[in-house]
Symmetry: C2
Amino acid sequence: MARPRCFDEQQALRSALEVFWAKGYNAASMTDLLDATRLSKSSLYASFGSKQALVVEAMRCYAEQLMDGPLAALGRPDASRAEIEEALRATAAVARTEAGQRGCFINNCLTEIAPHDAEVMAAASAAIRQLEAALLAAVRRGQQQGAITTGEPPEALARFLVNTLSGLNLAAKSKPTAERLDDIVRVALRALD
Amino acid sequence: MARPRCFDEQQALRSALEVFWAKGYNAASMTDLLDATRLSKSSLYASFGSKQALVVEAMRCYAEQLMDGPLAALGRPDASRAEIEEALRATAAVARTEAGQRGCFINNCLTEIAPHDAEVMAAASAAIRQLEAALLAAVRRGQQQGAITTGEPPEALARFLVNTLSGLNLAAKSKPTAERLDDIVRVALRALD
DNA sequence: CTGATTCTGGACTGACCGGTCCATAATTGG
DNA sequence: CCAATTATGGACCGGTCAGTCCAGAATCAG
């Protein structure tokens, strides 16, 4: 009875994410988004409602692909110190690439738009909370195994690690050398001893 | 012979900085800047040339007031471990305030505009380099005094500390609790032991 | 083939953008 | 008071912004 949708909403979302990620929210025009998604204006507005709603969806999409990418190790149920180290190193490795210079999309949104948009703030906070929870579980396991100091509560160590990851992603913006990133990761890991 | 300038360029710059800092570069319109500086469009363009040139000057202005504010301790010629701790704590203290939720202006610019503007990138890099140099000097002194580990080169520790400060300023965006910030500072300082 | 329904392209809107320009007001030295 | 010089306000510019809307193409069930 009805004509079926002839485009993949998830695929469009991924394309929109690329645009927002590369250009930032304000600098990404609807024209840019239309070109990237290959959707008509009507279709895009019918599917997502507004530019703001679209970026919020893009943030969720990004958070998912983060946990499947450089932070995948942290998602494993037996994640411990080795997986924390792996996550830090993978983040540093991405930061060296050209694409990595876009930084963390969540942090970009937190910086540019969250202060003036409650929904974006909520989405960013949720993503950060999720990362912290994963780190917390890994820290606890590491402490139980004696691989991580028990001189600090696991919550404190997890918060510190979130902070270090944020910093690495920000550092990525200014074309850091591999040595610089390695220094940061190595010294940060000292805090777990 | 000539009519003297009847406004304070530095004062106008500080006002412009407030606008850019609170709203972000793209979201700050010339109208906003004109209202805040109380200048006419002609005067502002005659003094600074363009919105982009204005933000670059604002970045320099911010970098100065940073070294006179929370990072003042690091500027002292005898700065050592205590001054590093003081800088971290002062940054955390600012992050708790409402004004602190604007984060670090340099990092905001690095995130929003530096990727697409070479001059902004240069200004941001210069500011970060300056901070790192101050930290490096303090780390070296701390190592000589035996207050900081010599198990890592001072450059690595300085880079790590820059990273931690960046992270704290980013964390400021999401209304962090005092406890959370204290955790980050305390754990980061472990890495110096 | 037909009628119902939904998707699609693009014209269109009013507002605002950063930036230019000029006539005028203000202040100077003489 | 005058001539020279500069700051100033505001009109104005073309372009772009996010978002609306509609006529028509595409796809369905029967």
